[in-house]
């Protein structure tokens, strides 16, 4: 019953100079799903994505992408995948329509002119089609890049930090588009650093130092980590946070505006730690931990494990 999986790979590993950048990663993504790919810088997200679309040869691992073998059938994968690079990588000295036309030719798109015109219309680029790509602002460049990787009607889109350096308005529009396309059956693997974007994904995969630490829906990941979080409101939160951070039961004490979020894996130890500060001065209440708290928790845990 693996038919439903668009990405189904196991034990993917890649080394650079003896250093494992991607270490034994399994990942499954269903058709029509938006899978968020998270992890700090240098954790191996880009390397993993490049292995999926045949830009890098994995040192170990197996599996399929769109039903094609990731090791031997990368040509077929390339034809059916849209890949958007982290850095803008279309030709800055070509116009928008020239860029799209080039990409369409490279993928031997049928009825090329219409495909280019349609994609210009769909993304609202028609007015600017004669503008040089290099002159576009970040948001427009991102639209163009998305249009370029959609032009050959791929079934899977691999987007590597597509919204880095894009303003909130453009980001929101971008995500509305992603959801619309997913509704039409496209599958997405999107790497990002933004927590609000992570929450917009159907499922998440969290990778750290090349190792996949968590995989599931936002709710699943949050409940699996069994983190407890308390929120405090009141004076002198800066001082309290400093004192709490030294305490064994407290893993994180993070400021959110005028609020303080205190989290720990051991709920009893945590409650003991905040006990001295539960005076009339402060209002404390237990809240559900956020994704960011969970990821920072995962990161710290993994560090402790490796240092032990």
């Amino acid at each position: 019953m693996t038919d439903d999986f668009v990405i189904d790979v196991a034990a993917m590993t890649k080394q650079f100079d003896g250093h494992k950048v991607v270490d034994n990663v399994d990942l499954q993504v269903h058709a029509g799903e938006i899978c968020g790919f998270l992890g700090p810088n240098g954790s191996g997200k880009t390397t993993f994505i490049r292995m999926l679309c045949g830009l890098l040869r994995p040192d170990a691992g197996s599996g399929t992408c769109l039903g094609y073998d990731v090791i031997n059938e990368s040509e077929a994968i390339k034809r059916n995948v849209g890949y958007m690079t982290q850095r803008f990588s279309l030709y800055e000295d070509l116009t928008i329509s020239e860029n799209l036309d080039f990409v369409a030719r490279m993928y031997s798109v049928r009825d090329r002119r219409r495909a280019v015109r349609d994609s210009l219309d769909r993304l609202g680029l028609s007015q600017r089609s004669r503008q040089l790509a290099g002159e576009l602002s970040g948001g427009w460049k991102q639209r163009l890049a998305l249009a370029a990787c959609l032009i050959h009607q791929p079934k899977l889109l691999l987007l590597d930090e597509p919204t880095a350096g894009v303003d909130p308005q453009a980001r929101r529009e971008f995500w509305d588009q992603i959801h619309e396309l997913a509704g039409q059956g496209l599958t997405f693997l999107i790497s990002t650093h933004y927590m609000d974007e992570a929450e917009r994904c159907h499922r998440l995969a969290y990778i750290l130092n090349g190792v996949l630490l968590a995989h599931g829906t936002t709710g699943e990941i949050i409940s699996e980590t069994k983190l407890t979080t308390w929120e405090a409101r009141g004076p002198d939160l800066l001082e309290i946070a400093k004192k709490l951070r030294i305490n064994e039961g407290v893993e994180q004490a993070v400021h959110f505006g005028n609020l303080l979020h205190v989290s720990g894996a051991d709920s009893q130890a945590l409650e003991k730690a905040i006990e001295p500060y539960r005076t009339g001065l402060h209002r404390w209440r237990q809240i559900a931990p956020g994704l960011e708290d969970v990821f920072i928790h995962l990161m710290k845990n993994s560090k402790e494990k490796t240092s032990q």
């Binding site: 490049r50 679309c53 890098l56 040869r57 034809r79 800055e92 490279m106």
Partner: protein, 385 residues
Amino acid sequence: MISRAAGKRPRFSLARFWAVVFKEFVQMRRDRLTFGMTIGIPLLQLILFGYAINVDPKHLAAAVLLADNGPQGRTLLYSIQNCSYLDLVRRVNSESEANQLLERGDVQFVINIPVNFTHDLLRGDRPSILLEADATDPAATSNAIGALRTLLNSALQNDLKGPFAFLAGAEGPVDLRVHARYNPEAITYYNIVPGLMGVVLQMTMTVITGLAITRELERGTMETLLAMPTRPIEVMTGKIIPYILLGYIQVILILSVAYFLFHVPIAGSLWLLFAVALIFIIATLAVGITFSTLAQNQLQAVQMGYFFFLPSILLSGFMFPFRGMPQWAQWVGEVLPLTHFLRIARGILIKGNGLRQIIPQLWPIVLFIVFAMTVAVKRYRRTLD
């Protein structure tokens, strides 16, 4: 206080100055190739100019057509063999054989000692010796001709003693007639202009293609290109075609200027020249593409182009006579496509060579293309590994 400080120009800060100096040193150390080139290029120039280049070329290939059987004819032959300006590589038996050698450029001179030379000499008829010279490059021949003139007189001095002393008169015992084949007026630019065509082609083609691929790497567009379902051969040939056209524009431009402005004669077939130019253009493009697969950025590609250009221009026979160089430099020169293209271009334009005469110069270029393209395809990366 503050406003006064703001109005004053900031003083020179030694700390800031050193900050820039250190930063530059660190960056210099990171770019090993550029550093290597700044050491390598002057070294190469020094070696080439110091050891390889010789503006007074000696050991020029010569053939002798000796039709005389007498002792004085042999005396001449021996003395020519001992002359440092000439290397007697062949003895030919007919005028047509001599012509062929000159046409192909196998020899620079043919010395013609006529029938009855000894007889006429001893009778005091002042027989004439015909020296046919390939004067395509006037610089290569003039010194040798001068040397031969004095040689002829002194060589016969020993033989012409006693009763024959009168023969070594004021004018000398023999009459040396020099027949400068090709470019008889010794016009230097007849030689330079066809050569320039090769030089210009090589300079622009190598660098421009070198840039074409490294530019994709530098701007990050290579990643897009590699993510597409393409084959390396599609990308390479696709990139080459526009530059071949550009190369032909250069060829036509240079030939027009040569013909209309410098009145360089076009003795051979233009179509043949165009056809051969294609092979040479492909060779230079192949070098450029090979460089681009080796270079990390555009600057390095340009530097490599220059590094290749230097020996090409100095060792090919473009600037300095090829036969004047020491043997090792000639071997290096024989490897370079420009050397062979220069001979072809000069051969067609000045000597009127046809396909038959240029084939010996053609296959080394083809061999070079095969080698360069093999390196390029092997080095071209299908992945980002």
